[in-house]
Symmetry: C2
Subunit: 151 residues, 2 copies
């Protein structure tokens, strides 16, 4: 649960101007639970329907879209399905062409480097919302974790 209560969730939903319906709350909750999986609408629906048999797949689609629209959630690069990610601290993604996994890559130093770079840039006719780094490659051993160290 990671310390995010329903009250918190309700507040976050209301904060972006959406009504805090039960469906929106449990879908957001589900996104938090499935955070590491960068789930599809279908996956959110599957996780939800045991505890909430009434929920409809169409609603999950519509709700995820409205979350993205409201900037509560982001879409991520994926293998032909729409995948979603709760909007936490800035981070990049590692995409493994071998296992098709999308793995979060959180690296404040890199985020700062890139953010600073863009601070000195002036965009005309463009409202910059977000910069993120995509890392593409493949795991040598699909069953092992990736680890990273500075030289």
């Amino acid at each position: 649960m990671a310390g995010t209560t329903r009250t918190d969730i309700r507040a976050r939903i209301v904060a972006v101007g959406l009504k805090a319906t039960l469906q929106r709350i449990i879908i957001f909750e589900s996104l938090l639970n499935l955070h590491d999986a960068h789930p599809t609408a279908e996956e959110v629906f599957q996780q939800l329907k045991t505890a909430h048999p009434g929920i409809s797949l169409g609603t999950v689609y519509k709700t995820l879209d409205s979350f993205v629209e409201a900037n509560l959630v982001k879409r991520v690069l994926s293998d032909s399905k729409r995948r979603f990610d709760v909007n936490e601290q800035p981070h990049g993604h590692i995409y493994c062409t071998n296992t098709k996994e999308i793995i979060d890559y959180t690296d404040p130093e890199l985020e700062k480097l890139v953010a600073d770079y863009f601070k000195a840039k002036n965009f005309r006719n463009f409202n910059l919302q977000q910069v993120s780094v995509q890392i593409i490659g493949s795991k040598s051993d699909p069953n092992e974790q990736i680890s990273i160290s500075s030289i």
Copy 2:
């Protein structure tokens, strides 16, 4: 056309270990023509079928997949369809949430900055193939170009 002849294309296809069939050649050619549009399989098919009525959509799908597999072409973040991009010099993408456009962002200084950053990183169990920067935001005026200047 940009100075890439069929002989060049043939060579690039053979270089990655694929047979240079006519379909592969014209699909690759089409990707070069449509480069700015980051086309879907369907869009490639549409562009092709006038000049080559025999070509099949299924073949376009299969061929694009094999190009990606062979690292001749990249997939790009998109609005729920698979979009493709010929593998030219390193560049990022600007995604406009307003118009859903994907616009190339070529910035050698940024590419160097990021590449250098990752040179000093040591990945274990991961073969890094590519790092790219995604910029997300929205055009103020959908009909105008974005321009960028350093401060």
